[in-house]
Symmetry: C2
DNA sequence: TATTGACCTGAAGTTAGGTTTAGATATTAT
DNA sequence: ATAATATCTAAACCTAACTTCAGGTCAATA
């Protein structure tokens, strides 16, 4: 049995965050002794899961839902799988968006590198995609389709 | 010269968003006729830039800064490049994080697919990484290093 | 002239995931 | 017994990028 301060050190999480998770229902039936929280192995397990699910981009309410399903056993496997399938779609499309953004930024970096060399943007303004270096042309193309 | 309603339709942006951008200083010296905003080519250009920079993940205040630098001409090329270089770092590390999250999620999807087939998690619990399919083992490994 | 519709403002509300604050209670050390 | 430290709660605050609201103005139509 651990106090909130001990858990805070163990997980490098602020005490306020642990209390917030508790308030959000992420530690159902956590024990209390004269009002003070007692974290057991069960809550430590929950915290490990929380850390993992947060990294997967799940929101607190989804994590809570997931934990509730876990408590219900094998009847909820398909709901849990569906949650992750949905999250997979979300993350995949975010990655796609980010890669487009990255191409746009790479183009901008190159653009200002050239502008700095030339001292002006004249050459850049009269430049067509086919005059650009292959890599930059690709990046430019990806952001304009 | 366009009204805020016309621009709202042109860019598929709510009127409230356009007023918000204006309040944040993204349309410096926009004309007004008896209090009513008049969007000219200059503001339309600005909006096109805003859309692009937002896709690059820049915050409003960065966009404002960028636009101010643009107004100052060639002396600010290096600041502008630095802004994008910094943003490049940010986006690249976000993409890395997302890819790790994706691997974690792929593992979870596979895990619950197996649990559904088996009707329980017994086989999964006694499974070692080397018993997993190559792709899943890779994903699992990536999220645990 | 009256009314409708588009526009204006400042202020407050929204969301998520916390953090901070104030004041109370509990535990531990001297 | 007292002082210091740790914990508790509810409520307010935080950020970013908007959105909504209440109340007022402006311009064109009936």
């Amino acid at each position: 049995m651990y106090t909130i301060g001990q858990i805070s050190e163990m997980f490098h999480l602020p005490i306020s965050t642990l209390r917030y998770y508790d308030k959000e229902g992420l530690f159902p039936d956590m024990e209390r002794v004269s009002g003070i929280r007692k974290f057991s192995e069960k809550e430590i397990e929950a915290l490990r899961a929380i850390e993992c699910l947060k990294k997967s981009g799940l929101e607190i309410k989804d994590i809570k839902q997931f934990m509730e399903w876990c408590g219900k056993g094998s009847e909820t496997y398909s709901q849990r799988r569906d949650l992750f399938l949905k999250q997979k779609e979300i993350i995949e499309s975010e990655i796609q968006r980010m890669n487009q953004a990255l191409d746009m930024i790479k183009f901008k970096c190159w653009y200002y590198e050239q502008a700095m060399k030339d001292g002006n943007e004249d050459r850049l303004h009269s430049m067509k995609p086919e005059d650009m270096p292959e890599e930059i042309r690709q990046a430019y193309k990806n952001t304009h389709k």
